[in-house]
């Protein structure tokens, strides 16, 4: 056997292309005769539409067509839902209101599309937007999560009795019992704030209808090419193989690009077929802020019941979740919150309730972290509050309740976003805690450093929190591995890559079985013309699910190569090995046959074949786990705060993380870095803010603070723990969201520690410099 290609930091195959301007992103696609789209969006958050007048716009030179919902005729219809309702959870209520794509009778959020202009250039299309006139009757805006359910609150969907979107309750054990036995119950109102996905590339789509072959070519920045293909086919009445959805290079995803059934994939393909012309639409940054999905808005009423010694008896968490104007993505986000509240500690009794509400705001779908960070924030804040009440050290209360390694696999009893019970598959949670404490020198900081600093009037605080990252959920993914006649290998799937390095890591997995150089493996991602089935890039599942499917397929290809070579070389296959692109006799390396030659022979053109024979040196495989694999870790921060300017310097950041086998450790670290950056942004810089009329006041990078290089610590100190997941042969767990979900909880703990004695009592996941200043002044009594 040749050297393993797993757990090695290969340089990325895709980089030379991307570094030299040879990437091919959505806006780089040009097709002769292509038309351009601009979308007219509502400036009002809630309004009844009387009439949309497009006459003047239509007359402008260079404008080809203008469409409103009215012009779509019978084609106009809402939906479909992208994620089904949570019927597996008994008693759950879910009022499905999928996206309307283009508003017909009513506008439900500011930024909602109301008309589409098609023109010869984007400049002209945008000019024409100013000549579309809306005759509307403004309605009262609903933006407050809790007040949205007040009797008499204006209805966002008039056919419903209230703005309730869903109500889902789950209970493990008995919260009542926990309260009855408790020495102490701590209650908090905890708020998590609204953030954007913020990929540097906006969304976009290019459509080309080939009227002679009746094939619709679609290039889209989607994170889920197959579901998008299916939904386009259903809308347009085409067969799946008449619609080919392809991912170009994608400039970051972070969640919002998973959302399909929007104006781009529902309305623009219809127009392209009608006009028989290729069409491009690329979103601009303002549209991205206004109309693309975002996440994090929740209000929790959380309680924790404990014994005097800090033992947790139970947790109760009832929370409002903002789904925005529609709920096309089902309950993915709040279900993740429910599972992540209790996933680090032994909590025998847990009651949790989601109250999902409609508001006149952009639609909520996952953003990197997808509900997990809220759950972690709630639990870790509760523990800090409980520790304070009990006079315990925050670390002690965690040590006391943390799940021990012997408890793995641990069944939580709570149904998650994948509609199966969340099971923590493996890991050493206390190990992660201790590793972090040691690396950040917690004892020394608390006992030696901090007292000195306090005496000098300095405000430096430390925070340490635990997190889990539910990843790699089902249902399934698949891939095909094929050795070509040149001896090069092709790996194809219809997953989606937005920068995660799959061109390299998927190649590593295949190379490991086939004994070829990873540079000789060409990975095709996100092309439904080459691979027909799959789900999409979310929940940090690519490496685990597609990677495992590739592994399984490569094992089959290896077998096929060995069987065929064994016949040709007249040697038992046990005596053969795959290396350097050939199958050879291990003891007689000069006797070999190249993989390319085997591939040629694997397609016999005369004679007969054995029954059950499958041609080609190729194999396909699907993989679906029984439940997700769960990564976990511990984050430590030391923050240095200037109370007068509220400037916060992250002096140290230590993260211990276990994502099972690292296929490419360099790429794993990169995922952690990027996640941490988003987490730091969420804690201290980024916030989507609506005013009292439903206008998004942070719809540009001038108003929405994007975390920059000097906002980061000098070093992200990463400590790895590797507990291979028992769920898949390579032992992989996901890593995409770890960094993004742990920062706010730790940041707030460290801020409170920096101002010990002032009782900052932070219950909000976002603390801007301005807010921090006021907190400190208030706590000082100033």
């Amino acid at each position: 056997m040749t050297e393993s290609t797993i757990s090695k930091s290969y340089k990325r195959n895709e980089d030379p292309r991307l570094l030299t301007g040879n990437g091919n992103y959505i806006d780089d696609i040009e097709i002769p005769g292509m038309l351009h789209v601009a979308i007219k969006r509502s400036d009002y958050a809630h309004a009844k539409i009387n009439k949309i007048d497009t006459e003047e716009a239509k007359k402008m030179p260079g404008v080809v067509a203008v469409y409103t919902a009215e012009d779509l005729g019978d084609y106009w219809r809402p939906g479909p839902l992208q994620v089904p309702p949570p019927t597996v959870i008994k008693g759950s209520i879910f009022h499905a209101r999928p996206l309307e794509c283009i508003a017909k009778n009513k506008i439900r959020f500011s930024g909602e599309p109301v008309a589409v202009v098609v023109a010869e250039s984007r400049y002209i299309a945008e000019d024409a937007l100013d000549y579309i006139y809306l005759d509307i009757e403004p309605l009262e805006y609903v933006g407050d999560l809790e007040k949205s359910l007040d009797p008499g609150a204006p209805l966002i969907h008039e056919d419903l009795e209230s703005n309730l979107s869903a109500d889902v309750r789950q209970e493990v054990g008995s919260w009542e019992k926990a309260v009855a036995e408790a020495d102490l119950v701590v209650k908090k109102r905890i708020v998590t704030k609204h953030v954007a996905g913020g990929a540097i590339e906006n969304r976009g789509i290019v459509i080309q209808w080939d009227d002679s072959f009746k094939v619709l070519n679609v290039w889209a920045t989607t994170q889920g090419p197959v579901p998008m293909r299916n939904s386009i086919a259903k809308y347009l009445g085409l067969m799946e193989n008449q619609v080919r959805v392809m991912n170009p290079d994608i400039g970051g995803g972070f969640g919002p690009k998973i959302m399909s059934s929007q104006i781009d994939d529902v309305v623009i393909p219809w127009i392209a077929m009608k006009l028989k012309k290729p069409i491009k639409w690329v979103e601009d940054r303002r549209e991205n802020f206004l109309g693309t999905t975002s996440e994090r808005d929740q209000v929790h009423y959380a309680e924790i019941a404990l014994k005097k010694d800090g033992t947790i008896l139970g947790v109760k968490d009832e929370f409002y979740h903002n789904t925005g104007a529609y709920n096309p993505y089902g309950m993915t986000v709040p279900l993740n919150t429910q599972t992540h509240v209790i996933s680090n500690y032994n909590i025998p009794n847990y009651f949790t309730r989601i109250i999902m509400v409609f508001t006149n705001q952009m639609v909520v779908t996952p953003v990197r972290g997808a509900g997990r960070s809220h759950g972690i924030f709630v639990m870790e804040r509760l523990l800090d509050a409980a520790a304070k009440e009990l006079g315990m050290d925050p670390i002690e209360i965690r040590r006391k309740n943390i799940l021990p390694p012997e408890s793995m696999p641990f069944r939580t009893g709570v149904i998650g976003q994948d509609f199966v019970e969340s099971v923590l598959d493996s890991g050493d949670y206390p190990g992660a805690l201790e590793k972090t404490l040691e690396a950040i020198e917690y004892e020394k900081f608390k006992k030696e450093i901090q007292p000195k600093l306090r005496a000098e009037g300095k405000h430096k605080g430390i925070g340490v929190i635990m997190f889990t990252e539910g990843t790699a959920v089902g249902p399934y993914e698949g891939a095909k591995v094929m050795v070509g006649v040149t001896g090069k290998v092709n790996v194809v799937c219809a997953y989606s890559n937005q920068g995660q390095g799959h061109y390299t890591t998927f190649a590593q997995v295949a190379a490991n079985q086939l004994g070829v150089d990873i540079k000789d493996i060409e990975v095709v991602i996100g092309d439904t013309g080459q691979w027909q089935w799959g789900v999409g890039a979310f929940a940090s599942r690519g490496m685990t699910l597609v990677g495992t499917a590739i592994h399984n397929a490569a094992v089959k290809v290896r077998e096929k190569a060995l069987n065929l070579a064994s016949k040709i070389l007249e040697t038992p296959k046990e005596e053969l090995e795959l290396a350097d692109g050939v199958v050879r006799i291990a003891d007689l390396p000069e006797k070999f046959i190249s993989l390319g030659e085997l591939a040629m022979r694997a397609n016999p053109t005369r004679g007969t074949v054995e029954e059950g024979m499958e041609p080609g040196l190729e194999a396909a495989s699907y993989y679906g786990p029984p439940h997700g694999a769960t990564g976990y870790g511990c984050l430590g921060l030391i923050l240095d705060v200037d109370p007068e300017t509220a400037k916060v310097k992250i002096e140290r950041l230590v993260i211990a993380d276990d994502c099972g086998t690292n296929i490419n450790p360099m790429i794993v670290d990169g995922q952690i870095h990027g996640g941490l950056q988003m987490g730091i942004g969420e804690a201290f810089y980024e916030n989507l803010v609506y005013d009292d009329y439903g206008q998004l006041v942070t719809a540009s990078f001038m108003d929405y603070l994007f975390p920059q290089a000097t906002d980061m610590p000098a070093k992200f100190e990463i400590k790895h723990i590797v507990t291979p997941s028992p769920l898949n042969p390579l032992g992989i767990k996901g890593i995409g969201e770890a960094g993004a979900i742990c920062v706010p909880a730790c940041f707030m703990q460290a801020l409170e520690d920096a101002f010990e004695g002032m009782d900052l009592d932070i219950t909000d996941s976002f603390m801007s410099p301005g807010k921090l200043y006021h907190y400190v002044q208030k706590a000082k009594g100033a």
């Binding site: 030379p16 400039g251 290089a709």
Partner: protein, 159 residues
């Protein structure tokens, strides 16, 4: 139709004489008129830095300039650096340090780095971080970019 204006702009050593609408953004001129797609557009309001190019040697945001404003200038884009087969030392350093993930912001960082290292061929980590502070990246957390800038400086000194 708006009247077009003649411009003569040198990009990556080639002189382009074109007629453009006065309102045509330089970023669109580079990308769509000249077909140089390496320069990316992330915000079109001057904040993210993906569209950074060098205009007469100075890093500038091509999305907040009109093409007519740079008539007679000499522009360098990412395509002026290395090729896939033979990358520029800065590009090599970005690959070695894993300083890119999706790669969308990367051309902007590369052009910022070209200018920065000309003025400071041996930067400290803090200086490198400060230098890239005006470019947004959502994927990398910046740490590897800082290291890549320093590694590039070393490579260029050795060349």
């Amino acid at each position: 139709m708006t009247q077009k204006v003649k411009v003569a702009i040198t990009v990556n050593g080639t002189l382009y004489e074109r007629e453009v609408e006065p309102r045509l953004l330089l970023s669109d001129f580079i990308r769509h008129d000249l077909g140089l797609k390496g320069t990316h557009v992330g915000c079109e309001h001057g904040l993210c830095g993906s569209c950074t190019v060098l205009i007469d040697g100075l890093s500038s945001r091509s999305c907040t300039l009109f093409a007519v404003m740079v008539d007679g200038s000499d522009i360098k884009t990412v395509e002026s650096l290395g090729t896939m087969e033979k990358m520029h030392p800065i590009q090599e350093a970005f690959q070695e340090k894993h300083a890119l993930q999706c790669g969308f912001c990367t051309p902007g960082f590369l052009m910022t780095t070209v200018e920065f290292l000309e003025g400071n061929p041996n930067p400290t980590a803090e200086e490198a971080r400060e230098a890239i502070d005006g470019n947004f990246c959502r994927c990398t957390g910046y740490e590897n970019i800082v290291e890549a800038v320093q590694l590039a400086a070393k490579k260029m000194a050795a060349d």
